[in-house]
Amino acid sequence: MIDKNIFLRIINNLSDSIIENKELLNELDRPIGDSDHGSNMVRGFTEVKKKLENVKESDFSTILKTIAMALISTVGGASGPLYGTSFLKASGAVVGKEELDEKDIIAVYEAVIDGIKYRGKSDKGQKTMLDAIIPAYEAFKACVENGGDLKKASDEAQKAAAEGVEYTKTIIAIKGRASFLGERSIGHADPGATSSYIILKSIASVLNE
């Protein structure tokens, strides 16, 4: 069960993880993009941390919506609308909840993936953040269906995301800026998949505390 306390720790923790990884994400965006994915995400999650102060007492849905709006209005680039839409959809998936269980998380995953697919007109196998998030979702769901708990499922999700990042190295980019490179995009990990992995890893680590 994710209660309010854990939830806020998760948000804070994932924001910090993104902020710590600014250079890494910019670096990954250099060979196949425009070197700004780290800067973009850090702008967003710095704002998230600020805005979070004002809504700490609110419900999950309001908090997630606040995060979404913070990201939409500060990140820019491709990742801004995508992560922004994800959090907005997640917010819709948790309306009225006081705690989140495994099923709720599955619903959140589905909302997030739908949101990205809709906004990005993209799908898995195109060398984007979906290549980290979709495998993570599948692993999470499979683990829960096999009786795994939140902790276990989050670990599995994290591992799958990591593998997803590795997988992005092997494929040609079809969507996003890296797609302009064609064949030359092979061999490089997708920065957005990596930031998604960083977020999922940070969630798992809070749940494992």
Binding site: D34, G76, L82, G120
Partner: protein, 332 residues
């Protein structure tokens, strides 16, 4: 990184202040936003044009705000699409009641952020139409992928659609004309070296002393391939061939051309390229009705250039030749 800046966070804000201070007779800033609009916005009874994108392409897009071109320009962080609320603010500030055309360069980020702004405007009942510029022949075209980038050809869209709006055409017409420009415009770029995104602080890529990067866009992203440097004439030849392969131009057809500097290449070299470009088009009996040489759509301080060809018909030619008065594009 050696730049005349203060700190990388303040760049866009300080630059916009500098632009407004330099050109108060042309433009003003929407308070609290990274949006430049015409000094007399909104212009009643005229379709308004809004463009924008990441910063670092100066004079695009703020330099084209003024009579006969844009009504509003939205500036994102360097090489980062602006956020939807910024674009929405521009739409609201310039709408004179006849609707707004968004001129978007084809990048996932630009497209999505402008799209979200469109959705916001929709909720407020503002008529908005969009065109997506994708003139870069270096990228393979396909409906399945992101498709081609929008690069220097965007300036032709601003100019011609801007002239159409100034003439009093309605939103549908302005959009039709903008789309016609896009359909008739092709660009190919090359680079002699990287640029440095201030916040990243490192060169976008590295090239040997005798290497050039061919077919790259305007964000320091690598191009289609890397090759040994050759003469200006050979490079020009290669580039115009790529363009004409993609968009054949027949003898006696008229074109406008743009030799666009990416920021670090001197006019001297751009004119040397223009000489060869002209000779090659002459050989093919293509008529060059108008030529633009200069820094129109840059990539910060990158050395390199692009060539754009716009196929003209009577309508496009007339609108291209119409009066324009903006900080960076003036035509008497």
């Amino acid at each position: 990184m050696k730049k005349m800046i203060n700190n990388s966070e303040g760049i866009v804000d300080e630059m916009l202040k500098g632009i407004v201070m330099a050109h108060p007779e042309y433009l003003k800033r929407v308070k609290g936003f990274n949006v430049l609009i015409r000094e007399n916005s909104p212009v009643k009874g005229k379709v308004a044009l809004v463009s924008g994108g990441g910063s670092g392409h100066e004079p695009s897009h703020g330099g084209y705000v003024g009579k006969g071109m844009l009504d509003g320009a939205v500036a994102g962080e360097v090489f980062t699409s602006p956020t939807p609320d910024q674009v929405f603010e521009a739409i609201k500030a310039v709408d004179g009641g006849n609707g707004v055309l968004l001129v978007i360069k084809n990048y996932s980020g630009d497209v999505m952020n402008f799209e979200m702004a469109d959705e916001m405007a929709d909720m407020e009942g503002i008529k908005v139409e969009k065109v997506i510029v994708n003139d870069d022949v270096a990228v393979e075209n396909s409906t399945y992928t992101t498709g081609r980038r929008g690069v220097a050809g965007t300036v032709f869209v601003h100019k011609i659609a801007g002239a159409a709006a100034e003439e009093g055409r309605d939103l549908e017409e302005v959009k039709r004309i903008a789309q016609k420009v896009i359909d008739h415009t092709r660009t190919m770029g090359m680079s002699l070296g990287p640029c440095i995104v201030p916040d990243a602080g490192k060169p976008s890529f590295e090239l040997e002393e005798d290497e050039i990067e061919m077919g790259l866009g305007i964000h320091g992203e690598p191009g289609t391939h890397r090759t040994k440097i050759s003469s200006a004439d050979e490079v020009t030849n290669y580039m115009i061939d790529k363009i004409l392969e993609d968009m054949p131009v027949k003898p006696n057809e008229e074109v406008a051309v743009m030799v666009n500097g990416l920021g670090g290449t001197p006019l001297m070299e751009l004119y040397i390229v223009n000489r060869k470009l002209n000779e090659l088009l002459n050989e093919k009996e293509v008529k060059v009705a108008k030529t633009f040489v200069g820094n129109y759509m840059t990539s910060i301080e990158m050395p390199g250039f692009s060539i754009t060809v716009l196929k003209l018909d009577e309508e496009l030619k007339r609108l291209l030749n119409a009066v324009a008065d903006t900080p960076a594009f003036k035509q008497l």
